[in-house]
């Protein structure tokens, strides 16, 4: 027992005190900054997911794996990590767009959502053919560093206890039924969050013949959180901005 208490003492406090303003390492590839570059021709086909469009210059964060393959004078990646949006179309970053501009309008949640969920949001996660990258990062959201539970946001074991579901992965044919079943088992009112490039657009798997993404057409999606995988700060801040009254 004494040893265990000693262990705790040696660790000190390691939680991130201010999640919304947590600093991010400069090397992190986050929000892309696009500038016109005279005389340079961008090869769209270097992008593994087709997120990059050369004319006019744009990057679709819903498809982007933030791999940095396209990095050049015209395309830079900032370490800005609040990439979530309630509107799929707003994830398309165009020339000269700044992170501040993006943040202003990215998340527009209905009043009812804030009223119902701002103090407590229990989520059921469904891995629909996710590669375990997003799953590991979502698990990390609940560790002692990020400690998402302090905001009343938690992952729960059953859809019956949940206020919404978080989908990761491109949704394989084999998971389509279980996913829909899970959604139906979640009591109303409920929200749907897509986490990661795979869930939002199919990501690197978008050309696979083994996917079944009908679910996304059938049901409304409330929040898109890009990343490959989603960084815990991107996820927590995305959800916080979505539910908090501010």
């Amino acid at each position: 027992m004494l040893d265990t208490i000693k262990l705790k003492y040696f660790q000190g406090n390691q939680f991130i005190p201010d999640i919304p303003n947590a600093p991010m390492r400069s090397q992190f590839r986050g929000f892309p900054i696009l500038k016109k570059c005279e005389g340079c021709t961008l090869d769209e086909s270097i992008c593994p997911t087709g997120a990059l469009k050369a004319n006019p210059l744009s990057i679709d964060m819903g498809k982007c794996t933030l791999c940095g393959e396209c990095k050049c004078e015209a395309v830079q990646f900032s370490n800005y990590y609040k990439l979530a949006s309630t509107d799929r179309n707003k994830l398309i970053v165009t020339e000269d767009m700044t992170p501040e501009e993006f943040a202003k309008t990215a998340i527009e949640a209905r009043k009812e959502i804030k009223r119902v969920f701002s103090k407590s949001l229990k989520l059921r996660q469904v891995s629909a053919a996710g590669c375990n990258g997003c799953e590991m990062e979502l698990n990390a959201c609940s560790n002692c560093n990020f400690d998402m539970g302090r905001f009343g946001i938690d992952f729960v074991a059953s859809p019956r206890h949940a206020d919404g579901i978080v989908i990761t992965g491109p949704i394989s044919e084999n998971m389509a039924y279980a996913l829909e079943d899970c959604y139906k088992s979640t009591p109303d009112p409920k929200i749907v969050i897509l986490a990661g490039a795979c869930a939002i657009s199919g990501g690197v798997f978008q050309n696979s013949s083994k996917l079944n993404r009908e679910f996304l057409e059938k049901y409304p999606i409330d929040l898109y959180i890009p990343g490959c995988p989603v960084h815990p700060l991107t996820f927590i801040n995305g959800v916080l901005d979505f539910i908090s009254k501010k």
Partner: protein, 487 residues
């Protein structure tokens, strides 16, 4: 014996691979006493050609041969009856090409047709079944488990996977460019291992020689991945024993390792670090010092926490003699990697298959394996320490190659009619990628094998005669991959 002898990452001419009868292969396998690393088919006009790859770990050689099934040959006598390690390979081959291995003891689906899966049944008044999944209680990948229990005791566990099937092997063939990003996403917890195996296969096929510096950086990243995931797993094992102090401390200690990875490559799991032709990010002296400093700090915490855990009776009693797999069973099932080593099967492709960067390091790998959860926990601890040693030695070596470039422009044409086997020892075990090109250098077949593919059945063996409540602990102690299995 009509087999081609080859090595890891060595290109061979596909036309040289002999085509012999299936009976001959079977009798050869009996004499060879080696383990299987590849058993897969390829459509050749109306015929199906079955390639068999065996590995000799003692001398680090690979043996390849093949057999041809004409359209009227619809079955053969299964290998599994004699060599249980083939069971999953034969099931996969049957599922993909419809050629039936006769008298296979459990010819069940691997990745498709889950609604028609014939589960084993047990009869009796006190027998009950527990069905779990595909969606599990935690934030993990999908898979279905079916327990046959008598009271609290598990008699048998059946594992039905396939929910993660995304057709990755096909996707590799559709690409016209090198697709390292797809390789990274096959299995997101083994990003470096998969990307390395893919890159090495492509480099062997295209004749691209990468610099020593790039090779060392790749291996540093591979070992850091091993350290990070092992620490995370030790935390998860602690969590499943309800030892929350361990879960919390290992959790935050892992963060230190992956955040250093973020500083190197811009991603916490090393995505975007490796490309065909080398690596995209350098490790300079400053970063090198930073890594060593981080590892020293992490080592201290891991040592201290492990020591306390091993002094805690409640932890020891949960881990010891839980989920045992004997060396004999592990070997028969063809187990590989960390799980096999923890049962006393001493195979490690880093050292067995002549990788000059590893064999020159002079690291010891002694381990007394008992095959239970405790053994897998301790093996992780020892491998973390070993990997730290390796990283430090590699970083010292890196200084000798300071002036070298980190990447070269790869040759974009793959050699025609070639065959290459690329194995990388990820944290879970050997990741095997096999590539086959056609007459114009186009990829005709891309076959991957995750260590989990061999090891899932080992988990089923481990939980036999254990309490059903020990399943999460056993499961976590293996931490097998769903997506690596389902592809």
């Amino acid at each position: 014996m009509n087999w081609i002898v080859t090595e890891n990452n060595k290109k061979i001419n596909a036309l040289d691979i002999p085509a012999v009868s299936i009976e001959e292969i079977k009798s050869d396998i009996e004499n060879m006493k080696m383990r299987v690393v590849g058993f897969f088919g390829k459509q050749e006009y109306e015929n199906v050609r079955l390639y068999v790859v065996m590995a000799d770990d003692k001398i680090g050689k690979l043996y390849v041969t093949s057999t041809i099934f004409t359209p009227n040959m619809k079955s053969y006598e299964s290998f599994t009856q004699k060599f249980p390690a083939f069971h999953i390979f034969e099931r996969e081959f049957y599922e993909e090409f419809g050629i039936e291995p006769l008298n296979h003891p459990w010819l069940k689906p691997v990745r498709i047709n889950q609604d028609k899966y014939p589960f084993f049944e047990m009869q009796g008044e006190d027998i009950h079944q527990v069905a779990v999944g595909p969606i599990h209680a935690g934030v993990i990948e999908p898979g279905h488990f079916r327990f046959m229990c008598l009271g609290e005791k598990v008699y048998d566990l059946e594992i039905m996977l396939g929910y993660q099937h995304r057709g990755v092997e096909e996707l590799f063939l559709k690409n016209k460019r090198y697709n390292n990003r797809l390789a990274e996403s096959v299995c997101g917890d083994s990003v470096i291992a998969y990307n390395m195996a893919y890159s090495q296969a492509m480099e062997a096929l295209s004749g691209t020689e990468i610099t020593s510096k790039a090779q060392i950086i790749r291996r540093v990243a591979l070992e850091m991945e091993r350290i990070a995931i092992h620490i995370g797993d030790m935390g998860a094992i602690a969590g499943d024993m309800a030892y929350l102090m361990g879960a919390s401390i290992f959790g935050i200690t892992r963060t230190l390792v992956i955040n250093t990875m973020l500083e190197i490559s811009g991603s916490r799991f090393g995505r975007g670090l490796i490309n065909v032709g080398g690596v995209n990010f350098d490790i300079d002296d400053k970063m090198s010092d930073k890594i060593i400093e981080m590892l020293d700090g992490v080592a201290k915490t891991v040592d201290r926490t492990t020591k306390v855990m091993l002094k805690t009776p409640s932890c020891i009693s949960r881990m010891e003699r839980t989920g045992c797999v004997s060396a004999e069973n592990a070997k028969a099932l063809g187990a590989v990697g960390m799980a096999a080593r923890s049962s006393g099967v001493d195979i490690d492709t880093r050292f067995d298959f002549n990788d000059k960067w590893y064999t020159s390091l002079d690291v010891v790998k002694p381990f007394k394996a008992t095959g239970d959860v405790h053994s897998r926990f301790m093996l992780r601890y020892k491998e973390i320490k070993q990997s730290m040693q390796i990283v430090k030695k590699l970083l010292a070596k890196l200084k000798e190659f300071k002036s070298e470039a980190i990447k070269v422009t790869p040759n974009n044409m793959l050699a025609p009619n070639s065959f290459v086997i690329s194995m990388t020892e990820g944290w879970r075990g050997e990741v095997v990628h096999i590539a086959l090109t056609g007459a114009n250098g186009e990829l005709l077949r891309y076959k991957m094998k995750d260590p989990s593919f061999n090891n899932w059945y080992m988990l089923a063996m481990a939980v036999r005669n254990n309490g059903v409540s020990d399943f999460p602990l056993c499961n976590k102690s293996f931490n097998l991959s769903y997506c690596g299995n389902d592809l």
